[in-house]
Symmetry: none
Subunit: 202 residues, 4 copies
């Protein structure tokens, strides 16, 4: 998390100093983890990063922009399958996303982001954009399955991705990331196979 250099970190000319950006993102992450969203303040980040507030506001116009950046730096590789089976892919996706949130600090950062979005329209827009982007991304699982003929073409990949990420979100937001594999599998199974009783000939 940075080498925590002692020496002053000044301007390097008429362009952004990446050392400052790093220090600020590191400090923001640390503050978020230590104090949580409620105790998170630009003031505190500036203090910890030994940066001036204007330097922060210059590059992250809003608190949510900073939060989003912190989150994105943290994003690890989420497993998008390739197992050859859409059901297995969806399971792996959910388990890996929820595990990532639970095991790293990114879950708590994302919770902050969601909280911020509930009061800050800019954060809301940023989060909506991000979520849409992620839906598009994870919809790839479905499109791959369609290419394989596993899923018919009239299924909307976005809607499936929406169901999956909604499930993950609500578990994150209500402290239920530790759902066991069987439960996740059953949720995924419901989406893959449906919940209706199969016709006799099925």
């Amino acid at each position: 998390m940075g080498k925590s250099g002692e020496e002053r970190r000044g301007s390097i000319g008429a362009r952004r100093n990446p050392a400052s950006a790093d220090a600020i993102l590191d400090a923001a992450k640390a503050e978020l983890i230590e104090k949580g969203y409620a105790g998170f303040s630009i003031e505190g980040v500036a203090r910890r990063a030994r940066a001036g507030k204007p330097t922060i506001y210059r590059w992250w116009p809003t608190k949510s922009a900073l939060l989003l950046d912190v989150y994105q730096r943290q994003k690890g590789g989420i497993d998008y399958g390739g197992s050859g089976s859409i059901e297995e892919d969806m399971f792996r996706f959910l388990r890996s996303l929820m595990g990532h949130w639970r095991k790293t600090s990114s879950g708590s950062i994302f919770r902050s982001l969601v909280a911020e979005a509930q009061s800050n329209p800019e954060a809301a827009a940023a989060l909506a954009d991000y979520a849409a982007f992620r839906r598009g991304h994870s919809g790839q699982m479905v499109r791959d399955a369609q290419a394989r003929g596993e899923v018919p073409a009239d299924v909307d990949p976005e809607i499936v991705a929406d169901l999956l990420s909604s499930y993950a979100w609500s578990h994150l937001l209500t402290d239920r990331l530790d759902e066991d594999d069987a439960t996740i599998r059953r949720a995924v199974h419901a989406i893959a196979r449906g919940i209706l009783t199969k016709p006799a000939a099925g």
Copy 2:
């Protein structure tokens, strides 16, 4: 929303004055609706209710306690189907819940509650309890369908309810309550019928 009397509303002796409690809850709700969670402040509530701040802090020690009280006074009836078809029931449930949130103020109050729960453990616990209760409640749709033989017994009603409410939550939290009926139907369809290509003989 109260008669908003002009005359001073003082003490009625050595016990709580219900008129003040009402005025404060009304004011809190109004502030929440007008300004959203971000612009919500105890200060503002006190101002609008013409109440002293200590009067608020005396009865609602934290912001989340007040928020919860406001939300509880607001509960409206959600449509749990009875159409005879689980798919139609699920569609009606989602549409009615999302419409309720969108059209009344309860959506914005609930958003505030979710936001608060992300940093306040007390609010988090209250929200988790509430969500579990609601899942149990809306799982009834599935149990009814199982009784009809429409859904096999090995489907977990809680998981289905979880998928549905998760979908609604994530749309609430990302400002997508105005999803059109066709989209909601497709999501519900995925859960009911699954997304896999049906076998030729099916």
Copy 3:
């Protein structure tokens, strides 16, 4: 300058706390003396007084209001004569005013006030009011002399007071408060000789 109590100095109800006012004025004076006008800040005063900034802004809407208050608390008794001679009275007035400015800290406070008035219209108005009030006050010397018949009625006491205070101001502002008595007497003499009633035969 205050007993520097250690214990917290909170609210005493819905009215101004004089202890806070005193602590703030003391702190402001000390800051002004230690750091001069350039280094004077509301922030610094609040810090030293252990007061919140809003407490300062509540009672002194502008920096100049605070400066003026500090100055006025400091104002010692200026000698307005009563020697029976207008020339002697004017001399004593100037010498006592300039000595007071030089020997106490009020000179440097007043310099700050004048400086502030050059950039802040509110301070300018406050200073103008104050200066006019003082001219009226010190004009009393002349009115007394007129009552004695020492000065003719058509002399405007305000103009004489203006000449005297202008002389004192310009010496304050250019670090010449240590003018010797002989020089002050000569300046006063120039003015006195012009306003004396001429002897009938003179």
Copy 4:
């Protein structure tokens, strides 16, 4: 105030670019006039002059240095009489000085200089020098009158000049440059009558 060329004004080699110096002084003057001393900032001057801040700091190490330079470029001719009467000369001097300050921008620049001198010793020294020089210069009126026999030799011209300029300063600093002629005449009259040689028989 300069042609304010649109094209970039870069370096002209390893020496000072006079065009930049001019642009900076022009911009400083304009800022001072438009926004007054309070709104005067190096930042603003650089912006208006399309100059880099370091260029300003390179040549004018302090704000007061820049202020002085601006004032010096501005000197206008003040009327030192020659009317043959010391009283008339003094009146013309005051009226012309105050009018000059009022009608051109030099008054507001001088006010800034005085304000700056109250907290900046360097500026204070420069102002004191300048004021002494001006007193010597305007004392010439009195010396001329002494040569004519209108004023006795034991009157100190410096003290008379001090009274006059003090009067002008204090009116400048308290926004009273628009004093009418009659009032100025009465002030001058007070001084003049005191320094006139008295006719033997009155």
